[in-house]
């Protein structure tokens, strides 16, 4: 159940990953879209070479909540699908594990865009 040590790890690791993003934001002036792409792709690459899994095991949500975790579930999903279904899994796996997140984002963004009026700046 609730475990202070787990919370501490999630907080610190999640915070550190966000600091990488902050460094990109401040020193390279990359736009938001590029930072997001960077994080997701590096999540996939880090998982592929086996470096991200230990971080997830250690920090739990501290590693899965940042967008590198999104890349992690893409890579993880493709791995599982290939194990399960063979080569066709290459084309299935990525989206399978992230489907819930993507669908939620698309559906509720549509709903909220219809419901809420944008703030005039």
């Amino acid at each position: 159940m609730i475990d202070i040590w787990e919370i501490g790890k999630a907080f610190v690791v999640g915070g550190i990953i966000c600091c990488f993003g902050q460094a990109l934001l401040m020193y390279t002036k990359l736009t938001t879209a590029r930072i997001l792409v960077c994080f997701v792709v590096s999540g996939v690459i880090l998982t592929a070479i086996g470096l991200y899994e230990p971080v997830v095991d250690f920090a739990g949500s501290g590693a899965t909540v940042p967008l590198t975790g999104f890349g992690y579930s893409l890579a993880k999903g493709v791995q599982e699908s290939v194990d399960e279904l063979g080569w066709i899994g290459i084309l299935i796996g990525g989206i399978k594990n992230t489907a819930a997140g993507i669908t939620t984002a698309v559906f509720f963004s549509l709903m909220h865009a219809l419901i809420f009026k944008p703030k005039t700046k």
Binding site: E6, I7, A10, F11, V13, G14, G15, I17, C18, F20, G21, Q22, A23, L24, L25, M26, Y27, K29, A33, I35, L36, F39, V40, V41, V44, I45, T47, A48, A59, S61, G62, T64, V65, P66, L67, G71, S73, L74, A75, V78, V82, D83, G86, W87, I90, L91, G94, T98, A99, G101, T103, A105, V106, F108, S109, H112, A113, L114, F116, P118
Partner: protein
């Protein structure tokens, strides 16, 4: 004509350098601290969502999906209410990097372009930022999947 002192148009690189020099160090430290604690707190919220999911009875396999959906939902909700914008101004990357930032990047353009219509406004602009993320994320996963398949099952 005296034009010498107004002819300094810095290139993009020089401009970056000037901005960097003019930004006081304390401001940078503050930026990192804010990104750190807000990002950390969002991850801790993710932990509690996970505890809730476990309590509801999600299996270990489905828990990450539940976790992601709940966080994404609140990301879009806070964007809709205009709160996420304010968090973003305060926290910088602390609000962009967590998955709620992805939700924000889907919802914010959708809301902004609402007046251009439901189909060509919301429907198309929804993917302004999420589009590249999905394109490159999915492509990377396909490349990795192919390599993994070759490694494990062909050779």
């Amino acid at each position: 004509m005296k034009t010498d002192n107004i002819r300094f148009f810095p290139s993009e690189k020089e401009y970056k350098k000037i901005v960097e020099e003019k930004t006081p160090n304390s401001k940078k430290v503050q930026g990192f601290l804010r990104a750190f604690w807000v990002g950390g707190v969002i991850c801790v919220i993710g932990y509690f969502v996970g505890v809730l999911g476990e309590w509801i009875g999600f299996s270990e396999k489905n828990l990450p999906m539940f976790n992601a959906s709940v966080l994404v939902y609140f990301g879009t909700l806070l964007t809709g209410l205009g709160i996420y914008d304010r968090i973003g101004k305060y926290a910088g990357a602390g609000s962009i990097v967590p998955i709620t930032g992805f939700a924000n990047s889907v919802c914010a353009p959708a809301m902004e372009f609402r007046r251009e219509g439901v189909v060509t406004g919301i429907g198309a602009k929804l993917f302004t930022i999420a589009g590249p993320v999905l394109t490159f994320g999915i492509s990377a996963s396909v490349i990795y999947g192919f390599i993994y398949w070759l490694k494990e099952y062909v050779f």
